[in-house]
Amino acid sequence: MDPNRKRAIRLAVALSAAVLLAGALVYVSFSAGRDELTAKQLLNRAHPGGQYVLAGTVVRGSVRHDGATTYFSVYDPGSAVEVAVAYTGIVPDPFAPGRAVMVNVTDTRGRFIGQENSLTTKCPSKYQVAAGATA
């Protein structure tokens, strides 16, 4: 076969593979993802049985442990709205008031229940909050 034609075919195959990969990636990203909501957005959108990803900062003084359940509130530094969460499961070590967290929650008739092992917290110290930050 003509080497130029061969190269053109190879290029076409490679580009098609790249386009397919990119298309699949975009599709999977949107289909596998869940909206990451602030406290205010969550309260506006939540309906019973719905599952959401709540992101925000743990309200100082809101953390309370009762047996295996940890109760805390999350707020969005951009608004004064808070959402109370009841979370059961191992709490990651970096979890603390004033730190940013993400947690998967289920709306159970107005109460937000954190899914087991879904709580992630930003790391401290090396990752300390910069001067002037609100957290």
């Binding site: 909206d35 990451e36 191992i90 990651p92 110290s125 990752y127």
Partner: protein, 739 residues
């Protein structure tokens, strides 16, 4: 000392600017003395930065809390080892470490190439100083490690290092990562130098290859240490979470992996010049991008900063680097044409190229998914959170193809493979891979997880291919020298370090991926709330909660549990896990409560690691039943404190403190704390456990160690005779390029 530190940092910046100007001036005017002066500026930068870093270390060791960074990340009770390593636990110290390591590695490469690469080196010097200068600027004006507080505001004790960071691997992890990142700047700088000067042969690659390999090695070690820290310290039982900051280190590592493979094609056949230059630019840019992700807090991550103002300068640097590099590559596109073309898809160069494409595809997937929350926010107005489910459908198959190509690449012939070549090299490894797969299907339940099964088969193929290559090489050497097998093997590796170091790294990759596939596919995990005496079954093992433990030591109070693990009625191991509570720096939680603050807690896992499985446990202390005592204690001691303060109101602060101490306030407080701690073991409170049985996790760490050994072998300089031979080949190649 703070003033001296700040002055040195400013001097650092001045030296960078001077070096950039004289290097470029010397290169443009062909004035070697200016070029040499630019190189010496790099040495001066290294010396100054080392002094600055030493000053910071001294401040930590002397508990000089007038330094804000010392007060924030150390305390009088911080152990010396962690005081020494605490500087890079802060933003400020990290930036200084960046500058120091960057200057040291740059000095080394410029010293080694001082009589070579005369045209490229000045521009490379300017780029290296530009990068170091960027970080020096951030350290000067963004997060200065020598910022001090007035004596009146200087704390007496310091906040202390976060307990989570008091882990040996965490303390070595950042310097390893930074070494990797800063080493990656070296091939990047020389590539830019080569593009500016048009000296685009293999010479710059030969002189920086070892630094690229060093970047690969250090970054790889840093990533694995981070994974180990996550597994043993963070209390979630995993070693990799596809967290943005983990991904930020993985992306440049994958890119530099592609580079150290594809440069072999350029060295051997003069091909893939554009590709190699692009790879090294992308690897260097991704290293900066990784630092940007960590420093800017632009993405939600378990690692990223809460907030930072450093994002904008990073975006500016990335834009300049990328746009400038693209412009240079376009300008030199004619000179970057390959000397040859790929003759056949069944050739080593084609396999290397395919392997490179797979690695780049992995980087693309990771980049996209990592940034997807930002991309989705830009498109839809809402951040869409994606986690492992978005990575695995792509990364798993790509990793499988990568393992296959890693096995095929070194065995297939250059230019064009023949049927005889394929037969000679592939019958045994393919047969072995199939045999292992079949054995796993028939003898285990591995067929339940097809992806893991395929990965086991492919890794077996890879192991067999490496073993075959090493065996054949050793046999050939033995036939020539009549030495013993072991001696022949050592001599073979010693004389072909790059090649056999690479094979050993491939072997490590196979071992590591077997561990990853097994532990991620066949892990059993369970959350359980147990009282002493209760049991729960996880993955065929029975976890029996024997009794709680409580230890009050000077540095922390640890509430834990003893767990007996049995299988089929036979004792397997006893695990001890606890949650340690470090006293809060302030008594805002009360005189008693400050010792039981969960915000200052860290977990010590109970782990029984074995060659075939890890049994892992963590327990969350249940302090609810102690809450009443803690609150009562707070009230009692607050009242006692107020009474003592009222009684001593007429005294000076020092006299007051001495009186309160003499009155036995602190002793009584300690006795009360001990009493509350003792309560914990007297009652059968329920505790929340996370219990995990994971197969072959040890293979992951062992594989990583083998990879590191392979990398070190490749990195180690070859014996003189071999070096001479290889230089002769390079000289011949250079002569061909010049004619």
């Amino acid at each position: 000392m703070g003033q001296l530190g700040r002055a040195i940092l400013l001097l650092d910046l001045g030296v960078c600017l001077y070096g950039i100007v004289v290097s470029i001036y010397g290169a443009r005017r062909r004035r070697q003395e200016w070029v040499d002066s630019g190189r010496r500026a790099v040495y001066a930068l290294a010396a100054l930065s080392v002094i600055a870093f030493a000053l910071l270390e001294v401040a930590f060791l002397r508990n000089d809390f007038s330094f804000k960074v010392v007060a924030d990340t150390s305390s009088v009770t911080t152990p010396i080892f962690y005081k020494l390593t605490a500087p890079w636990s802060s933003q400020q110290g990290s930036l200084l470490l960046w500058v120091t390591l960057s200057a040291l590695w740059s000095s080394l490469v410029l010293f080694l190439t001082r009589k070579r690469l005369r045209e490229i080196a000045p521009y490379a010097t300017a780029v290296l100083l530009g990068l170091a200068g960027f970080f020096a600027s951030l350290a000067n004006f963004g997060a200065n490690p020598f910022q001090t507080t007035p004596p009146a505001q200087t704390p007496s004790f310091g906040n202390g290092l976060d307990p989570l960071l008091m882990h040996p691997s965490m303390m070595f992890h950042p310097p390893m990562l930074y070494s990797g990142y800063t080493l990656m700047a070296i091939p990047l700088a020389f590539a830019i130098g080569a593009l500016i000067t048009g000296r685009l042969g293999s010479e710059w690659i030969r002189d920086t290859r070892r630094f690229a390999l060093g970047a690969w090695l250090f970054l790889g070690i840093g990533i694995v240490l981070g994974a180990r820290w996550s597994y043993t310290e963070l209390g979630w039982g995993g070693y990799w979470g596809w967290d943005p900051v983990e991904n930020a280190a993985l992306m440049p590592w994958l890119m530099i992996t592609a580079f150290i493979h594809s440069i072999q094609i350029q060295e051997k056949r003069g091909m893939l010049k554009v590709w190699n230059v692009s790879l090294v630019i992308l690897a260097g840019t991704l290293a900066i991008f990784g630092t940007f992700l960590v420093r800017s807090g632009v993405l939600d991550s378990i690692h990223a900063f809460g907030a930072s103002t450093l994002g904008i300068p990073f975006i500016f640097l990335l834009a300049v680097l990328l746009l400038g590099s693209i412009a240079l590559v376009l300008r030199r596109r004619e000179s970057l044409r390959s000397d040859h073309r790929i003759d056949s898809l069944l050739s080593r160069e084609a396999m290397f190229l395919l392997q490179n494409l797979v690695l780049v595809a992995m980087v693309f997937v990771i980049f996209w998914v990592t940034l997807f929350p930002l991309i989705s926010q830009a498109i839809t107005g809402t951040k869409i959170s994606v986690g492992p489910p978005a990575f695995t459908p792509f990364i798993v198959p790509l990793a499988m193809i990568l393992v296959l190509l890693t096995g095929v690449g070194p065995m297939i012939s250059w230019r064009r493979a023949t049927v005889a070549n394929l037969k000679r090299h592939f019958v045994f490894p393919v047969g072995f891979g199939l045999l292992v797969t079949l054995a796993l299907v028939l003898g285990t339940g591995a067929a339940r997880k097809p992806f893991a099964l395929i990965m086991f088969g492919l890794c077996s193929f890879l192991i067999a291919s490496v073993a075959q290559e090493i065996f054949r090489g050793t046999a050939a050497r033995r036939a020539a020298t009549h030495d013993a097998w072991a001696l022949s093997l050592v001599a073979l590796i010693r004389r072909n370090r790059r090649r056999y170091g690479g094979y050993i790294a491939h072997l490590g990759l196979a071992v590591m991926l077997i561990g990853v596939a097994a532990s991620s596919s066949f892990q059993h995990s369970r959350n359980a709330t147990l009282r002493p005496g209760q049991s729960v079954k996880v993955g065929g093992y029975v976890f029996h909660y024997v009794h709680p433990t409580a230890v009050a030591a000077a540095e922390k109070i640890a509430f834990g549990a003893v767990i007996d693990v049995t299988r089929g009625g036979q004792h397997v191991t006893t695990l001890r896990t606890d949650q340690g509570f470090y006293p809060a720096a302030t008594n805002s939680g009360g005189f008693i409560g400050q010792f039981f603050d969960s915000a200052n807690a860290d977990s010590t896992i109970g782990l029984d690691a074995g060659p075939l499985r890890d049994i892992w446990s963590v327990a969350a202390a249940n302090l609810t039943p102690l809450a009443g005592d803690i609150n009562r204690g707070n009230a009692v001691f607050r009242g006692y404190w107020n009474a003592l303060v009222a009684k001593t109101a007429h005294m000076s602060a020092a006299q007051q403190a001495a009186y309160i101490s003499r009155a036995g306030f602190w002793t009584a407080r300690d006795v009360a704390v001990q009493g509350i701690v003792a309560q914990y073991t007297k009652h059968a409170y329920p505790i929340e456990f996370l219990l995990i049985v994971s197969p072959l996790v040890t293979w992951l760490w062992s594989g990583a160690l083998i990879i590191a050994i392979g990398g070190l072998i490749s990195l180690w300089p070859a014996p003189l005779a071999v070096r001479r031979r290889s230089f002769a080949v390079y000289r011949a190649r250079l002569a061909r390029e010049l004619t």
